[in-house]
Symmetry: C2
DNA sequence: ACTTATCTTTTTGTATACACTTTCATACCG
DNA sequence: CGGTATGAAAGTGTATACAAAAAGATAAGT
């Protein structure tokens, strides 16, 4: 089973106090993968009892996991109302992509500076796997590897804090795609990811930054095209509007 | 009592699943403030029983709060070993300031674009309060308001996700200052914060970006000058080194 | 006197129990 | 027949209890 979006090196960092080998870590990873790979559709309720029985633990551990996922904005927890897979709003989706542009473009300078050949080779291997998955029609794997590539790229900068932020943004992007993307929205269509590696290998910072800017705008445009559906909240406003028109005002 | 670094508008967003009015919210804020204002020194142990008795609740609620603070990197939770106020490493400190440069400089464009006069007035008021606090020697308040200014600035961009990230970075900066800063390291010495508001009001994006870059580099330089102390971990290495020298090798 | 081993104390991890809130179904009334 | 109230069922919030681990103290041995 995969581990987060870490692409390899997650074998016990033992540094911070988040994934410190508790037995809930496995449960967390399971739920995390289920959500970002869209096995659980946005809005799906996540009752504590069900999860507790599923994983054979008590609700205590489940609650811990759910709160962690809530902090990462992958699930929504409302008071006395339980947890559900998050449904990012359109404005939240825009914020996510905007934040990704700022972080990924802003960090590309350090990425280029620190991109030793070995690091680039690892990234190329990731792209190769992504293409292989796409070629055999495994879209879920391809999308996953596409996200993993973006995270791995920033990791080269050596900034763990930024890498963590981006990891969250990439997983939330999966939710956005699941919520607003059309079936064929394969995020990075035929993945020009190799191109940016060429620019990085050539030491072309500005070129790489421009590529990233364009790439992320492409991804966003291919997804968030549709506006928010009525969604029961502005239902009242919509109906009022219809009523006014019907009465002949305007 | 203050609320996070939110500077006003925290009166129940009811939107996400984090601060949804549970009774632990008050406990969280208490601990949060105690940590970022350095009433609790980095490294201070936070035993669950003590906190539970202090706030008159059970350990269950305390654990929830501690895990949230752990996710925000303000406390360190190690398996079977409890929680303690985090002690950011030098490399973590560098990552934090680097991330701040990328995010705050990257978002300044949207800040300028969206900075209506009313927003700028609010920011000026914040700077005024900061100066007032500094003038009367209330350094804690001045440092707090300085951080609140940076957060409020980014909030103007309208990107809630980035604002959350920066909120975390600013509070972690407080920990860095507490850990590595000298007593007089007042982060922003006589706070040139008014200057950037002039640039923003004038619509000078590049000027504001350059100002922010320089400002954050100044803050970092005034803090992280010192290298990591032995810190008990490389104690062995240090002692071995001393022993070798004593034996006359080299 | 210093180190090592064992036992006690303290503290954390996890499960369970109970109170309260929400939700859904049923019955009552206009 | 539609709408509202009442009550049962399900689900969450919080406290407590017990098991396991770490920290500390005491005693034995070198």
């Amino acid at each position: 089973m995969r581990k987060g979006l870490s692409t390899e090196r997650s074998g016990g960092r033992g540094e911070n106090g988040l994934g410190t080998g508790g037995r809930d870590e496995a449960i967390y990873r399971n739920l995390f993968v289920a959500i970002v790979e869209n096995h659980l559709a946005p809005g799906t309720k996540l009752p504590e009892d069900t999860l507790a029985e599923t994983y054979g633990v008590s609700r205590t551990s489940i609650r811990k996991v759910l709160q962690r996922l809530a902090h990462e904005r992958l699930v929504d927890v409302r008071l006395n109302r339980g947890a559900a897979v998050a449904q990012p709003s359109v404005s939240e989706a825009r914020d996510i992509f905007s934040a990704r542009r700022i972080i990924e473009c802003g960090a590309i300078g350090k990425v280029v500076a620190k991109a030793v050949p070995a690091a680039i080779d690892e990234l190329r291997e990731l792209v190769r796997r992504e293409h292989a998955a796409a070629d055999r029609g495994d879209w879920r794997e391809a999308i996953y590897l596409s996200g993993a590539f973006h995270v791995a790229l920033i990791r080269v900068s050596g900034n763990e804090t930024l890498t963590e932020f981006l990891t969250q943004l990439v997983s939330r992007s999966s939710l956005v795609i699941a919520t607003y993307g059309t079936p064929m929205t394969s995020s990075c269509r035929h993945s020009e990811h190799d191109d940016v590696l060429d620019l990085i290998a050539a030491g072309d910072v500005e070129g790489a930054r421009a590529w990233m800017e364009r790439h992320l705008k492409d991804v966003e445009r291919s997804v968030v095209l549709v506006e928010e559906e009525p969604s029961a909240l502005d239902l009242r406003k919509v109906l009022d509007e219809v009523a006014r028109r019907h009465r002949g005002e305007r």
